[in-house]
Subunit: 209 residues, 4 copies
DNA sequence: AATGAATGAGCGTTCATTCAT
DNA sequence: TATGAATGAACGCTCATTCAT
């Protein structure tokens, strides 16, 4: 059973050598709360229970810490989508369904990083930003391809597929903004609902009506 | 009958004048490009072609300039929605349609403020933030009410109306992020497409199929 | 008559608008005492009787303040030499004599800058450093040319003119390190003595023996 | 008879060892390149191929490493001068000649330390600085005494012996700034030339003309 | 004899803001 | 209506140094 002290979590004294992980965790929270420019490295270090200079032992700069966070998270998203697709049945409707489920899962599981990545990617320095924009575009392409397949096969009815896709991605992104992990809706339930929403958006008619 | 706009109340009219307008215009751009904390009032004053001190003649602080921008923009949104609703036919499907069209129109017309309001509202000081969150909730209520009406009247088929509404609002918000005013899609075309998307999201079947 | 308060000089409150001059004066002293890296801009601002941020109103950076100091001083030296040569009689011995006198005058008159320029020029950023090295080389060329003339005309007897020149310049440079402006030797006396030293170094025999 | 070196006393011998030697070598270079304050012990440790902490095994502080370097070098200078004087003929002109040759030899052989000692002695803490200033004064006395002897014996003709001495020392010091060990002039050649310069400076006429 | 991890003080710089005119 | 000059607080970061192993 967690003691009050353990619940305080990030305020507990950090074990020697565990500074890097504590900093990443603190950075996640502070960047999500205050944004890149609003977050000071003093805040982050303090929340991690470390001195300011310890941050520079683990990361070369605020920017590098920030980039490590996003890189890790976006990579995770892409791999989550990829894995989901590999196990999906080979119909567009099922592939779209698992893609959305993977996305919702990711938005809930890595809620803070999602918020950061959506809101703050412009604050990455060009080199890193390009890498992540590339990865993000690859994820977008997964959606685009599945939708295009569905239309080609006649199972999706959708005059402006890009609008549907953009709406769908925006809807999924927004989950991170309002979802309450302590609330009553489980991630799985939410994933199912958003999969239904997705099929509506692309005009898949058979199992919705 | 009091409109949603009137219910939300109003502030003293924003001070107008050559310098003030130049500052608001510059602030719009700089806040949108770099975010609240990333934007410095030196940048804003310079872009407005004014001295740093002049900014303090027009606005008491960075925060007030920021708030004025958002306030102005959110009021505009309400007026737009209100006007649209007043002229709409009295069916849920038509009311939802004009609501979405008004929203899209606003997102395109006030693109930069939209981006700012979506991304940076956390940087408002509590008093102002509460006002705007209130206004925003009022906007959300317009959608909620219309959707609830449609369901009650049996013209919308929608198991989780809150999810549909949130998806719809997120989709509309996102337009500001990708829409290119110099591109080929006109705001009216886009508004129509998103009205269709809205009706799909709420399960309005008659004039879509 | 100077009051005790006026003597304290740099500690007196600075008149509004006079910050730039006070900063240059303070920088002169602190850079000379502690070197470029040893001098902190907080020290400089404090000695100038200004806040740290005021320094940044007048100069864009520590480096720029430093460069302004050296630029001004080296320029002064070059002009001093040039002016002296224009009024000198046209014999090598007289030209060398006024050149040395001008140099001694400069080393005494701008003692602190001399120390800084000699010791710290490597701490200038390349662009500025190149400019100053160029100016310095021009001054060195004045010496080189005069000595070469004297040898060609047979009035100087000097097997290794570059060694003589380097020794002479080093001797003059060093004056800034030990000269006490409050001591008994006047700058003019010193200039005469060093002119004699110069003529010995180049082997000018007629009026020395 | 106690030599100047013995009079100045000596410190405990510097600790020797692989790591320590590598550190001193690295420190020599880095201090010479960037000055005391501009050199970081991280740079020094890295150039020595050791960890930062290892530096603290060998030296108690940056200051101690710095002092060890200068101490070592100045002691070397004294031994060089002493040895040279012991083998010199007992005339002022020969004693001055070997003193200058020893000095030039030292400036060339210990070029980097020479630069450091000349430029950075102010950065020594008082205790150490006093010791070295004392040693330096002892060196100056060697010159002063020889010159005074020469004047007393009538072989030097020199109205302001202190100016001659200061010029001579400055000229020798400066060698470290421009001498190129890979160039064409050997240290011995240079030593001869500077010995001639010295005799000119003090007005020794017989074997120069 | 050496290391990886951490610290507190201070660095140069920028920030939003205010003062005097 | 504006400006030029100044401020105190905070920023991201580096410093010499120490601790635990």
């Amino acid at each position: 059973m967690a003691t009050a002290f353990e619940k305080a979590g990030s305020l507990a004294p950090i074990q020697r050598g565990a500074g890097g992980a504590a900093l990443r965790e603190a950075a996640r929270e502070v960047f999500a709360e205050r944004g890149y420019h609003g977050a000071s490295i003093r805040d982050i270090a303090k929340r991690a229970g470390l001195s300011l200079s310890a941050l520079y032992y683990w990361y070369a700069s605020k920017q590098e810490l920030f980039a490590a966070l996003l890189e890790d998270s976006v990579q995770d998203y892409f791999e989550t989508c990829d894995a989901a697709l590999r196990e999906a049945a080979d119909t567009p409707q099922d592939r779209l369904r698992v893609l959305v489920q993977a996305t919702v899962d990711y938005r809930v599981r890595r809620r803070l990083e999602s918020i950061i990545a959506t809101r703050e990617i412009l604050n990455l320095e060009p080199a890193q930003a390009n890498r992540l924009v590339e990865l993000r575009r690859a994820a977008t392409d997964l959606f685009r391809d599945v939708i295009a397949d569905g239309i080609r096969q006649g199972v999706f009815d959708c005059e402006h597929p890009d609008d549907s896709r953009r709406s769908l991605e925006a809807a999924c992104n927004a989950i991170a903004d309002w979802y309450d992990p302590a609330g009553e809706i489980t991630a799985d339930q939410l994933a199912d609902r958003y999969a239904d929403i997705a099929l509506r958006l692309v005009g898949y008619t058979r199992n919705v009506q």
